[in-house]
């Protein structure tokens, strides 16, 4: 049984989420800041009348802030607590991957990033890291 993955880039990393967890992808929207909220929270955005929490995935993974010219993209993820958006640098293709290619998280990764990753897929040209969607949007 293959699983579909929605892929994206973040600070040079190639990451993927289970496609069934992703509701849609949206270009960057203005957000309303939420003072006192945890650091990864960028704010709240209005998605067709629904208020959605926007989480900066770079901050969530302790990665450096995005350079000025990068316009992040919203990846809307359905979680247990409802909808949330993960800001990523760029969205890639949807890939179909077989579980045989699955490997544990490489040892080179550490810290927060490691705890939010489920594992990796070795693709012909690069490594795809699978993000745990529920963990990523849980604060």
């Amino acid at each position: 049984m293959t699983e579909q993955y929605c892929t994206f880039e973040l600070d040079g990393l190639y990451l993927g989420l289970e496609a069934r967890k992703v509701q849609e992808v949206l270009r960057y929207q203005p957000v309303t800041g939420v003072p006192l909220a945890p650091f990864p929270v960028r704010g709240l955005m209005n998605m067709r009348g629904q208020i959605v929490l926007v989480i900066d995935l770079r901050r969530r993974l302790d990665l450096p802030e995005a350079p000025e010219h990068v316009r992040p993209v919203n990846v809307l993820v359905r979680g247990g607590d409802g909808l949330a958006s993960l800001l990523v640098d760029r969205v890639g293709d949807v890939l179909e991957l077989a579980p045989e290619a699955f490997e544990p998280v490489p040892d080179t990764l550490s810290g927060t990033a490691r705890s939010l990753l489920r594992g990796a897929y070795q693709l012909p040209d690069r490594l795809l890291l699978e993000l745990d969607a529920e963990q990523a949007i849980a604060l």
């Binding site: 203005p30 957000v31 309303t32 800041g33 939420v34 003072p35 006192l36 909220a37 945890p38 929270v41 704010g43 709240l44 955005m45 209005n46 067709r48 009348g49 629904q50 208020i51 959605v52 929490l53 607590d81 409802g82 949330a84 849980a138 604060l139």
Partner: protein, 788 residues
């Protein structure tokens, strides 16, 4: 869900409704023992539950209901007369059945408990044997009750009731519904005010025959409206419709803008129609969320009966306006405060029968529960004809419990004394009973009601009784709010807690923001109003930055039992906002009550006023409250304190300027300074503001090489202290801005021209600048005046 589960689910929902009705009918029957119609209805309801439980194989449930049915049939046929003990027994049966239904819902079977004792008691009663109170599983007897855990008006716990834990349940008003979907009742046509909750006596349709399309099956709904007039709607669907309606409003706003841009006539009429339809739709959907308050009230007769028996009192409860509708979310939140107030009335308000007789009152106390719509709000009153609140005792208790200083208490007005009962920890109960008297409660009642955007009032007369009046808005889903700005964001402040708006020009000495014990206050009509700086609470700015703003907008709020001023940057308009819940991860922040979407599509956070006050630790300390509400003249000592802005001048000299004279602090780029008529000036708002170097104004005391100027590069930015002078401003450039301090001015003689005197601040000799002199000396203003 399998078909069988579905049928069981329906059985549970219907039985739940029947049980709620049974509670009421049994109480009614006690008042009118001869009413055969009520008796027949009770019998049919129990019979139906028995029959269906037998069909599903819930044998334990069947045994209990069968025993009850036997007793009821004897009563119906007139073979036995109804006694209070028999009523109690039947009520305990209702409780046990309710508990079993809960177990069925959770676990799919009717539980382990045999309830043989109850069944036996019922059987014995049916045989006409006298009922012994000890075996009748009486809902509340004092000795059972003592062992019951405290259940103040807080949240209703989801108890897993057994027959013996009845007291717990009574203390909490009612167990949660076993009914699966929580739904609201919907009116078929918007024009007809929702036909839910017909008066109970109106159409006693047989329960067994009532089909499952009946409206308002939520716990306690007393619905006997004709079955086909209403439908059940899932709350989730309803919420979705509310969202969609909100979205439609936004789209309508966009179309309006477009129409204004295009000026097209056809588009204009279509847009107007869209406007009307949108408004109608929104109103209709809001109406769908409305439920009669009877959902809460219907529990009261049973509760009062059990309580009165526990307290050995005679109490009659009368209910008025039970068809008054309010939003379903409010129905849920108003239940606890009302239950608590009612419990208080029975326990504290109504006197024991002998005492009442002694005072020439009817031995039976009377509690009137009344609900009505009034001015866009729902007003609920609970009044008793009991002893009233003894304000002298309240005063003594509050002093002895350390809640108020004796000196202050002796000067309190009647209203102030009454409000003492809302202080946390206050209790006048002579003895702690299971019912009340733990000193947890009235403050919780008040806080809960305020969380709903409501108010609590008390009227009391010694010996005559007490009335509690709660006012809450009709709905929480839409509320009026004041939009304010702080930093780069806007926030919504619920209008319910707003009292007035004040704009303070900090530069003017009369209107000052002062500090008392380090806490910022504003003198509002001879009262000191504690201030909460929004940007400071939200950590977007420090207090000092706030303090030095030229203008402060203060929203005077009342919440959590106290008045305070919320300082914001800007106040814009008042709007009706649609409240939406926050993401789960943000709920713990407790300073936001939710979020809303504005007309421009942006999200705006709604401030939780009570939470904000708590965060600023305003609402917690009752002692402090007394200090703050004291009239201003009692604060002479603080009066003498003056706020000074500490500066570092040339040669590392410490200088100070009265903060009252400082309009703001400004750090322009050095290149922004321009030359005009030989003077340095800066564009400051609409003004051209002269800028003078402090170093150039003060005569040097001794000659010394100026290291700091020679060695360092000119700074990129200037530190300007903007001072108001004669209707205009002047910028004084200083080396560094150090601090703001509150000191008692105690000056030694002047050290040099341009200085009023010297004093020691923070262990350093500090010179207090003679601002007017310095400005005059600089000639900057006159030079500018000539130039312009």
């Amino acid at each position: 869900m399998g078909e069988f589960d579905e049928i069981v689910g329906e059985f549970l929902v219907e039985s739940q409704e029947a049980l709620n009705q049974l509670d009421q009918d049994l109480i009614a029957l006690e008042e009118r023992p001869g009413d055969r119609e009520i008796l027949a209805r009770i019998f049919r309801a129990v019979h139906t539950i028995k029959g269906t439980s037998g069909f599903f194989g819930f044998t334990k449930l069947e045994t209990v209901t069968h025993a009850g049915e036997t007793l009821l049939s004897k009563l119906r046929d007139g073979e036995l007369a109804l006694t209070p003990d028999a009523t109690t027994l039947l009520l305990s049966m209702v409780d046990v059945v309710r508990a079993m239904l809960g177990t069925i819902k959770e676990r799919g079977n009717d539980g382990e408990g045999e309830h043989g004792e109850l069944a036996e008691a019922l059987k014995r009663a049916a045989r006409g044997e006298p009922i012994e109170p000890s075996t009748s599983a009486q809902p509340v007897t004092p000795d059972v009750a003592v062992s019951v855990p405290p259940a103040p008006a807080a949240k209703s716990k989801r108890s897993k009731p057994s027959a013996k834990s009845d007291a717990t349940r009574i203390a909490e008003a009612a167990p949660p519904p076993a009914a699966a979907p929580v739904t609201a009742s919907a009116a078929p046509k918007p024009a007809v005010p929702a036909p839910i909750a017909a008066p109970p006596a109106a159409a006693p349709a047989p329960r067994a025959a009532a089909p499952r399309t009946e409206a308002g099956q939520q716990e306690g709904t007393d619905v006997r409206a004709p079955a086909f007039d209403s439908v059940r709607v899932d709350v989730e669907l309803l919420d979705h419709l509310v969202d969609l309606a909100g979205e439609l409003v936004l789209t309508r706003n966009q179309i309006r803008q477009l129409q204004a841009l295009l000026g097209d006539g056809q588009l204009s009429s279509a847009s107007q129609r869209l406007n009307l339809v949108t408004l109608g739709l929104q109103e209709g959907i809001m109406r769908m969320r409305m439920q009669p308050i009877d959902n809460v009230f219907s529990k009261f007769p049973r509760m009062v009966r059990d309580l009165a028996r526990a307290c050995k009192k005679l109490v009659r409860v009368e209910i008025d306006g039970k068809n008054t509708e309010l939003d379903k979310s409010l129905i849920e939140s108003i239940k606890d405060p009302l239950t608590h107030l009612l419990r208080n009335s029975v326990d504290h308000g109504i006197e024991p029968p002998d005492e009442r007789t002694r005072h020439g009152k009817h031995p039976e106390g009377r509690i009137l529960v009344r609900a009505a719509h009034a001015g866009g709000q729902v007003c609920v009153e609970i009044s008793d004809d009991g002893a009233g609140i003894d304000l002298e005792r309240v005063r003594d208790k509050a002093v002895s419990q350390g809640l108020v200083l004796a000196e202050r208490a002796s000067r309190m007005s009647r209203d102030e004394l009454i409000n003492l009962i809302f202080l946390p920890g206050f209790s006048t109960a002579k003895a702690v009973t299971n019912v009340s008297g733990r000193g947890v409660g009235m403050d919780v009642v008040k806080t809960n009601v305020e969380h709903m955007g409501g108010t609590v009032e008390v009227e009391t007369e010694l010996g005559r009784g007490t009335t509690f009046r709660i006012r809450v808005p009709l709905t929480l889903a839409i509320m009026p709010a004041l939009i304010v700005a702080s930093g780069s964001e806007r926030y919504a402040v619920p209008q319910a807690s707003l009292q007035e708006l004040v704009v303070v020009d900090v530069g003017r000495s009369r209107q000052r923001i002062e500090r008392v014990h380090g806490a910022p206050v504003y003198r509002l009509r001879d009262k000191l109003l504690p201030l909460v700086f929004l940007s400071e609470q939200l950590a977007t700015e420090t207090r000092e930055q706030n303090f030095l703003r030229a203008k402060a907008h203060i929203a005077v709020l009342f919440a959590g039992g106290r008045q305070f001023g919320l300082v914001v940057d800007q106040v814009s308009d008042q709007q009706e906002i649609v409240v939406k819940p926050l993401a789960a991860g943000l709920k713990s922040l407790n300073v936001y009550a939710g979020a809303t979407i504005m007309g421009d599509g942006r999200v705006v956070l709604i401030l939780d006023v009570v939470g904000l006050a708590q965060r600023a630790s305003l609402a917690t300390n009752a002692r402090e409250e007394v200090a703050f509400s004291a009239p201003a003249e009692s604060l002479d000592e603080e009066e003498a304190l003056t706020s000074l802005l500490l500066l570092r001048g040339p040669d590392d000299a410490r200088l100070a300027v009265p903060l009252a004279r400082v309009a703001r602090l400004h750090t322009p780029l050095a290149v922004e300074i321009e030359e005009a008529a030989g003077n340095q000036v800066l564009q400051y708002g609409d003004e051209i503001m002269p800028v003078v170097e402090l170093a150039g104004l003060l005569p040097e005391r001794r000659l010394r090489p100026r290291h700091d100027l020679a060695d360092t590069k000119p700074p990129e930015r200037l530190n300007l202290v903007v001072v108001s002078a004669g209707g205009t401003h002047i910028g004084i450039a200083v080396h560094e801005i150090l601090d703001v301090v509150d000191v008692r001015i105690n000056l030694k003689g002047p050290s040099r021209p341009g200085v009023v005197g010297t004093m020691v601040i923070h262990g350093r000799v500090t010179e207090l600048l003679d601002l007017d002199r310095v400005i005059e000396q600089s000639g900057a203003l006159s030079a500018l005046a000539e130039a312009v």
